[in-house]
Amino acid sequence: RSQSDQSFDQKSSKDKVLIGFSLDTLKEARWQKDRAIFVEAAEKLGAEVLVQAANSDDSRQIQDIEALISSQVDVLVIVPHNGRAMATAVEKAHQAGIPVIAYDRLIRDSEVDLYLSFDNVKVGEMQAQFLLDRLPGNRGKIIRVYGSKTDNNALLFKLGQDNILQPHIARGTIQVLHEDWAENWKPENGKKITNAAITQYGNQFEAILAANDGTAGGAIQALLEEFEEKGVKEKIIIGQDAELVACQRIVAGLQTMTIYKPLKHLATKAAELAFRMAKGKVIIAQQSVFNGKVEVPSILLEVQVVTKDNMIDTVVKDDFHKYEEIYRSIPEEQRPKRSR
């Protein structure tokens, strides 16, 4: 701790624990949930939370963190938009003697104190694996819609998918007809890409592997306009995030699967650990991940594949979305029983 900070160490003698939560973005519904759950959990513990969102802009996120440090938070929880860029932020925080937790995405090349996440690469791998299992004989023609090429996470998802798919592609059993990046994760770009694919290959493909539910939605929109509902239902369409709309599509049979990340566990756990850290307690983590500089003590939670069949005992069970909401467009009699 540099002595120049002592000036406001005296000031930071407060009774209430103050947690700084810096998010990459709140543009997608998913992060709204993270925030809600995290804040609720933290406040239950009697801590106060300052939330920041950087609209997917690295310099903005740095400014956010600077502000949180100025507000003398006791611990920082960061969802980095870009794991590399946030190294500076960790440094600044540590200079001010504030511990940092990397939430959902690892912060690289820095001495970040703890890492909680569903591993994004893992997510990509699960998407790909699911796709393979669904394709008869692990062979087929697919379309791949990646996320924003300028978004580090999009690269991670792709990496995960490639880990599984590459050998098959190399062997030629899996054939990627068309692949493109959806600028800014825009659904409409997902649609344009899919349209381009249809224009060139018509109905030849069996599956669309989309980076997230948003772009998947765009893709489905295109399919609907081309092949009508029944044509869409024949296709395997894979997304991620378990957005409400996506879940509705899944139960309606328009989308095949999405990846559900039990945010509740993640966010609550993060809140607890952050609280304990703020109190100066030591955290013991079983796993650890090397971030290019140090072995970061890590807590990695399992993500779940969500399909029509296990909707009830994943998303609904965790109360991630309301049952009525998900099944609103399904007639009562056709809805599955709710567990208990």
Binding site: K27, E28, A29, K149, K191, Q221, A252
Partner: protein, 375 residues
Amino acid sequence: MQNKLSVRDFSMAISLALIWLFFALLNPNFLTSRNISILVIELSITAILALGMLLVILPGHIDLSVGSGVGLFGGVASVLVFHHNWPSPLAMTVSLVIAITVWYLMGTLVIKQKIPAFIITLGGLLIFKGVFWLVIKNSTVPVTHGTERNFYSLLTTYYIPPLIGYILGALVIGSIAYTYCFTRKRRQSYGFNVESAEVTFMKLFVGGQFIFLFILVTNQYRGIPLPVVILGAVALFVYILTQHTPFGRHLYAIGGNEKAALISGIPVDRVVIHAFAIMGCIVAITGFMQTAYSGASTTTVGDLMELDAIAACVIGGTSLKGGRGSVIGVIFGALIMASLLNGMTLMAISPEIKFIARGGVLTLAVWMDVKLNTD
């Protein structure tokens, strides 16, 4: 002005032809009826917005807020439809009315308070974005429940049945020919010298051919896409407004020499404010179409569309200083941009190259335009 225009369109026709040729050669699918249909849908959305922008630029102002406006008012409508189960026509009407009011107010601020439009609308850009995200709660709000269709969702997915398409086409060609000959006759009766009958005929013939060809192609797919019809309506409206009404001429006059306009007794304030109001209306319409196009209202709908609209205008030979610009030009401008994007997406060109190509073509097109018009 007329002939000046023709030169300009000519120059743009060339750039356009080049672009089409380029893609057609590189990718046979570019000229398939399906892709053409999709292209014109994408075109319509930009073009309509650009036509609104024209009305604001002509009197020498500018509107940076249209992008977030598109998002916002598309969002308002879809929230009313999806969350509050309003009938989509009602929801859209309400959203439309709000939009018009908001733009009317912006216009008033620009005029009465003398705050440059650049600022007001830059403010609007930020404010609308904020409100938009609040309205849709940063979530995804579909334009309709599940897969059911409503007026809203049909905006970009409905196609005019082939037969009706042909009839429509015939009507359009017919009426054009009629007015054309009619005015020609009247001109003669006034004793102005008019172009020779052959030229007139050729013009009409070529024009008719194009329309017919277009219908033929689109019918091969599913018929004329509804957005194109909407575009046609808006274009006609704006064309008549700018070329055949005092209001429109006043827009040009204000842009050309505001003082003179004032001294000539033109109600400058009212004209500009109304121009903004119309812009508001068009923004809402574009908003509905853009949102319907992506199937749902998400936080990114409308991002940067203001730049596309302005670019379309300028490529189309509109002067940002005001006083110069034409409907046909703007449509060409939008067409160039749309073709470019569509072609590149078709070929799955990487985003970096997309950016570079867009920038390059934008500059080239305008450069060509300038060259052809100074010589």
